[in-house]
Amino acid sequence: MARTYGHGSTEVTALREVSVAFRRGTFTAVMGPSGSGKSTLLQCAAGLDRPDSGQVIVDGVELGPLSEAKLTALRRERVGFVFQAFNLLSALSAEQNVGLPLRLAGRRPAAAQVRESLAQVGLAERGRHLPSQLSGGQQQRVAIARALITKPRVLFADEPTGALDSSSGREVLRLLRTLVDQQGQSTIMVTHDPVAAAYADTVLFLADGRVVDELTRPSAQAIAERMTRLETAA
């Protein structure tokens, strides 16, 4: 698929003829220098944005022909999101945030289901807290609990540790890894941090809108070296 932004002289090509498949039950990290198109790839793959050409298939459903409402429903049911920051609605408590996707689907979230989801991320006791009463790492875990409550086929994470200190960051990454290992949760994560990427099964390298490399089970050091080469080339 390909994606271009703007027109004429301001035209920016974010993705050129990228073709990737992510396997079920695996943890993939997408890396690349800034401007390499990694965020665009995530947005298109997750149905947040539409590519100009090509097709996106999530869990066997092609996103292209879907209406905005259908696409939204698909995101709600089969896709989970974790973002870098601004992840929770500040007016809602942790429990309310976690239950939100169900409410949006028109269902009243069962208390047990919400609690289970929070327990999964180790925050069973913090349900009544407002986001402002939680640490950054805890907020991110609440966001993960919210993403998981619909039992999504795939979880997308965009720089999930970008706004966290290294120890809370590690906690979040370990949580993601555990979810993949124990529940087979397919996860795709965009990051620029080699240490974060080392938690993944596969690391995909993007540069200038193209996939340029792929490493399996690499060490953080190997990833860092590959990244340095990409950045000096660009």
Partner: protein, 636 residues
Amino acid sequence: MITLLPVAAATLRRRWTGFAGAFVALTLGVALISAVGALVINVPDNTDPQGPSLAKILQFMAGMGGFVAIFVVAGTFAFAVAQRRHETALLRAIGATPRQVRLLILAESLVIGLLSAVAGCLLGLIMAPAMAAWLTAQGLAPGGFAPSTSPTPLLLAALAGVAVALAGSFAASRRASGVRPAEALGDAVVDRKVMTRGRWLWFLFFLVAAVIAVYSRMSVPDYMLLDPGMRGPDAMATFSLELDLLAIVGFTLLTPLLIPPLVRLFTLPLPVLPGAAILLARQNALAAVRRTVSTATPVFLVIGLSGSVVGGTLAFTAARDAQSHTTSTARYVIEPVDGPALSASVMRALGDLPGVRTTAVVSTSINGLGSASTPFAALSIDGDPGTAWHLDTVTGSLADLRGRTVAVSSDLARAFRWEVGEQLRTRLPDGASATLQLAATFKPTFNVPEVLLSYAAVSGHAQPARAYLSAPPAPAPAGTVVTPIENWTDPRTATSDHQQTLTLVAILGPALLYALIAIVNTMIMSTGDRLRDFATLQLTGGTRRQVLRMVGAETVVVVATATALGLIVTAATQTGTLWLINNGILDGQAPIPFSLPWSTVGVSVAVCLFLALLSSLLPARLALRRRPLELAGVRE
């Protein structure tokens, strides 16, 4: 949708400060509508036919209240939606459809509408008796006037409050539903297009409405003259007020287009000055166009409204003076020292004066005339009307106003299709009925009422209250006072001015109150929006004082911009009003020169600046008490 109601409620609970303005405005609107409703039901029919109808003033007040409340609610919600762009994008990303986002905003406004309806009705119950007492004290309502206790006005007002809340948040809810889910990933705060297509459409709508209003005023169909509010120069005053309001609202819609260049212009010399605060203020005002528009609009409304309405009123007062000056032909006015009327012996003495022409008059009222069944204020005239005023006769001759005759303004004659020579039945003040022949029609002026009666038609019913003289009676007859015409004030003008002032208060009062609420509300909201900016500024080495100076400078820039817009619109409405007066009323004689009501504008600007500074600096000062790192973590 039901499952989302708790979400809407939680949002309102945590963010109530942002919606406080909408709540206050709506509550006041509902209170005003319910109180006016309770009063209007009990308004007696037969109020002073000379003055504007009490029911009309009250209805105008309520209408104005509801109308301006829509603007405040719309402004508040537009702001709240713009502030929550990220959250909205997040909602969309995790599975809210555009429709759900729209419904969520509408649900919030519904909750606010219901709360305001209850609070407003309670307030209205207190307000109604207070208003009745005030109206009685001002002589606008008879003694013993009390509001109705019927529940209908309360119900209607509550409904109106909810409807206004929904209408006000409709545009904002549509904008929120247009937020793209991908925006949750980035955090672009550079405003996108603020001059929306909706604004253009509404602007066109108001433009067309203004053109239609001017056109219909230039060629008023006869049937429209049946409404007393459409006849004579006072109708012109109402009409120019309506045009002013159209112009101001139309202008408000264009503010996103006009504000950025004005901000740029006003701050052009500032970056040269040392200090970061002013540079930041300029860049902030330009980068966040929507915020600048939201904060500048209520200030503009206060200045534009007070400037245009007070300016227009002053112009019409000047026109009245100018017209009584140019149309007066008498040199002196003689009145009794005390008592309502000149005695018969004085009248005889005046008649005997050699070389002095005398025209005696008495104000009266008649009930019904020909096919018209309403009461009319009338003046009965003994002598040649030409001795008192120069009136432009349209048909017939005022010299024929003798015996059992009547003369009416040409507008009144046109409304009922009366021709000179026609016999018109009427009922005199004492209840006697009489048949009068129409002697003449004249162009309406401020100086005389619509109906002039020959003195003979009412002789025996009333004694003259004053007489106009062509020369001084030397010496003045006992028990009378003689005033040169240039020093004399027509009691008719005095009542008219008093009523004009009351109408002004009734019209401007609610509108200004709302606009002031909106200033405070938007300022507080916009400061809350910027806590992270403040933190960044502090973390990069800015002192608290510098942050406050930046906030202050930005507020001053916004108020200055709004003042410039307000002056532009006031100049425009004033030009239009004077054109109407000079061509439509004074016929190019002694035209009134252009002037702006500087003192009113000055006071408005001072009040706005004070409120705006207070409501931006105070919350900023409070926020700065917290440590910058804490602020930096504040979610938008």
